[in-house]
């Protein structure tokens, strides 16, 4: 082919501003929107679990109405967490190699261990001990398929004597105590995957795991507020204001810490101003303007901070329904804000060249493997799963008993 012609075609093809290494100038970033979904979902798992452990470990009584709900939320999201990763692999059929022959110097190889530990040793075990006596009861009360399911979940242990129940509660608490560091591990390691990449100045950052942990806690708590309110509306039972106030308070404090750490990250970057600062500044002000400054910083952090902060200051002057609305809007904004934070980290880190001399473009597609439709479906899946869990494990009757006890 004519050399001039090839060169001019090549000039048009990759959407690069400035210079990027030829291998970097691909149409899609290597880690696309599926990898945005993955840390988002694991973050929600960790955050929802922390919410549940506030009840178990720290005895925050006001949060009891959402204890089981947050555990089930955590489980539903954890079961869906590996799916975006799996779909993204070039060879999903070789995925078990990560667990069978892990390369121990790789943070990604920890996935198998951390995931299995969290699912088997923490979440399922805690849920089982918590639900055991109910399973025994329900398996006797319910006939048909439901009864069979509940009977299977008892795992053949039908002892509901007083000492057995005491042991259940004690085990639940121990597992919760173990679960808190495990939740930190689960999401801290995801942060470490990015934070350990020294090749990429946007990622390689010692604060990254901590930022991930706190944004996870914030998003998980916001998710619990959101699901609790939606569930109450759907069941036409009033949501406990006491519980919501307490969740709002914890959400506010977690958000303060999260915002402080993320600001510290930026202050440190701007002040130490290493060779990458110019390109990172143009990245934030250019290609990430809407998702970083508008989505993450303004609507995802500042507005919820002001809203939730206002409730802390003027709680008595606000009516209950006003507070409910503030919690709802605040939690939705936080959920969107943390999603854009994941986008900014994952996609943002691939929008500039490691030569620090140019930017790549990314146009999100609708359909296909790298399209947003699949990601949306993967984000919706845990909610569907949670719906099934709620139907099976949070029957309305017991919810009403809980409400009655609350009031």
């Amino acid at each position: 082919m004519n050399h001039n012609l090839t060169n001019s075609i090549v000039d048009i093809l990759p959407r690069v501003e400035g210079f990027a290494y030829p291998n970097e100038a691909t149409v899609h970033p290597l880690w696309s929107v599926l990898i945005v979904v993955y840390p988002y979902v694991t973050g929600l798992v960790a955050g929802a679990f922390i919410m549940a452990s506030l009840v178990r470990v720290f005895n925050v009584r006001a949060l009891e109405p959402v204890y089981r709900l947050s555990l089930l939320t955590s489980l539903a999201f954890l079961l869906c967490a590996p799916m975006p990763l799996l779909l993204h692999l070039g060879h999903p059929e070789r995925c078990f190699e990560i667990m069978i022959t892990p390369h121990l110097s790789s943070p990604m190889a920890m996935f198998g261990f951390v995931y299995a530990w969290y699912l088997m040793a923490v979440l399922l075990l805690e849920l089982w001990f918590d639900y055991r006596s109910d399973f025994v009861g329900w398996s006797r009360a319910q006939a048909g398929l439901r009864g069979v399911i509940y009977r299977a979940f008892t795992l053949g242990v039908h002892d509901v004597s007083e000492p057995a129940l005491r042991l259940d509660a004690r085990m639940g608490r121990i597992i919760s105590i173990v679960g808190i560091p495990s939740a930190f591990l689960l999401h801290g390691y995801v942060g470490f995957i990015f934070g350990s990449i020294k090749a990429n100045p946007w990622w390689g950052n010692v604060l990254m795991p901590i930022i991930f942990i706190f944004s996870a806690i914030v998003s998980g708590m916001a998710l619990c507020v959101f699901i609790y309110m939606v569930l109450s509306w759907a069941r036409r039972v009033p949501a406990s204001t006491d519980c919501l106030d307490t969740m709002g308070k914890f959400l506010f404090f977690a958000l303060v810490i999260d915002a402080a750490i993320e600001s510290l990250d930026w202050i440190h970057r701007l002040y130490s101003a290493d060779e990458s600062i110019h390109i990172l500044k143009s990245l934030a002000a250019g290609r990430l303007f809407y998702t970083l400054l508008v989505g993450q910083a303004f609507f995802g952090t500042l507005v919820p901070l002001l809203l939730l902060g206002a409730v802390q200051l003027f709680r008595r002057r606000l009516t209950e329904s006003a507070r409910h609305w503030i919690y709802f809007i605040g939690s939705v904004l936080i959920l969107v804000g943390v999603l854009s934070m994941r986008w900014n980290v994952v996609i943002g880190g691939q929008l500039f060249s490691k030569s620090l001399r140019g930017f790549m473009d990314y146009k999100l597609e609708f359909a296909g493997h790298e399209g947003w439709l699949l990601s949306l479906a993967l984000l919706a899946l845990p909610f569907v799963l949670l719906g099934v869990f709620i139907k099976l494990f949070l029957p309305l009757a017991s919810a009403q008993t809980a409400q009655a006890q609350q009031s």
Partner: protein, 312 residues
């Protein structure tokens, strides 16, 4: 140990009763069915025996782990040698690649040879080696700067040479070509992060990928600071310069070195110096040869002579 465990258990407390769905329906509470009391829980042992059993299990696990690592290392060695001719011992060589920036004329023969030799996918985003052109302009008169802008391009990896620069000749302060390839890092971040060990360092200084083992996660591509790796669109595995391992183990030079008309690329074995060895001549002549991005601590084994500070 037992006391410690008991203490932990005591910390647990028993005051907590789950509320949301935690009550049994009264119908069941009054159920006449016999409750099978197997005493599972009272007899749940936390005694010395069970603790010892757990510890033994952990120890056995740790031992198996180290054994499996040894086995893996052996398999890896076998894998490396399985594609090399008989009698090739990777521990008896140490390969080094050196590039004389001043000699490169940007003809692109090396890029083409590499694509052909290694069946690298056609396309502007798949290169095991490529050439970058740097054009540094003169500063604006009176600007107080030493240099003007630095413009870099690499159309189609420089495979078909470069079109004339858009900068007028009189505005150019300095212009040069930089061939790039895997930097053969001593502390390679790509092999460090590979979750399954499909990428590995060979004792003779190459960094290789086993395409039959790679799961295609792309972590190594993210971890490479030099943009030397890409995802092969056909095999869906990570790919990079192998230093033409199939050639060098048979006493041949890598394809890019073989075709370079100006000897801008120099290749040799540090452990087996021969008379008038180009690599030793290069080292002798270019004592200040540098590597790329040295601050990252990857210790690359690709040396560049006459490297400008703008090259990253």
């Amino acid at each position: 140990m037992k006391k410690l465990l008991e203490l932990v258990l005591k910390m647990g407390g028993t005051g907590y009763q789950p509320v949301f769905g935690g009550n049994l329906p009264p119908k069941i509470a009054t159920s006449q069915r016999p409750v099978p009391s197997k005493g599972h829980f009272q007899s749940l042992p936390l005694g010395r025996r069970s603790v010892l059993r757990a510890l033994t299990g952990a120890l056995a696990g740790a031992l198996t782990l180290s054994l499996s690592r040894k086995a893996k290392a052996a398999v890896q060695k076998m894998l490396v040698s399985s594609h090399t001719p008989k009698g090739y011992d990777p521990t008896k060589h140490k390969w080094l690649m050196a590039i004389d920036v001043d000699r490169c004329i940007g003809c692109g023969l090396c890029v083409e040879a590499c694509k052909t030799e290694n069946a690298v996918p056609v396309g502007p985003n798949y290169f095991r080696t490529w050439i970058e052109r740097y054009v540094i302009t003169r500063p604006e008169p009176g600007s107080g700067e030493m240099r003007g802008e630095t413009l870099v391009d690499s159309p189609n990896g420089g495979m078909h040479g470069f079109p004339p620069s858009l900068v007028p000749k009189e505005q150019i302060l300095k212009s040069f070509y930089v061939p790039k390839l895997c930097n053969l890092c001593e502390h390679s971040p790509c092999s460090q992060v590979c979750p399954v060990g499909a990428t590995f360092d060979t004792p003779d200084g190459a960094v290789l990928v086993d395409p039959k083992y790679c799961i295609g996660c792309g972590f190594c591509i993210q971890a490479c600071p030099y943009g030397c790796r890409f995802m092969n669109p056909v095999t869906k595995t990570a790919e990079k310069c192998s230093l033409c391992y199939h050639r060098i183990t048979r006493g041949l030079k890598p394809a890019c070195v073989e075709v370079c008309p100006t000897e801008a690329r120099v290749f040799g074995d540090l452990k087996n110096p021969v008379a008038n060895d180009p690599i030793h001549r290069f080292i002798e002549k270019n004592k200040a040869a540098q590597s790329l991005k040295p601050h990252l601590g990857t210790a690359p084994r690709v040396l560049y002579a006459e490297l400008d500070k703008e090259v990253r």
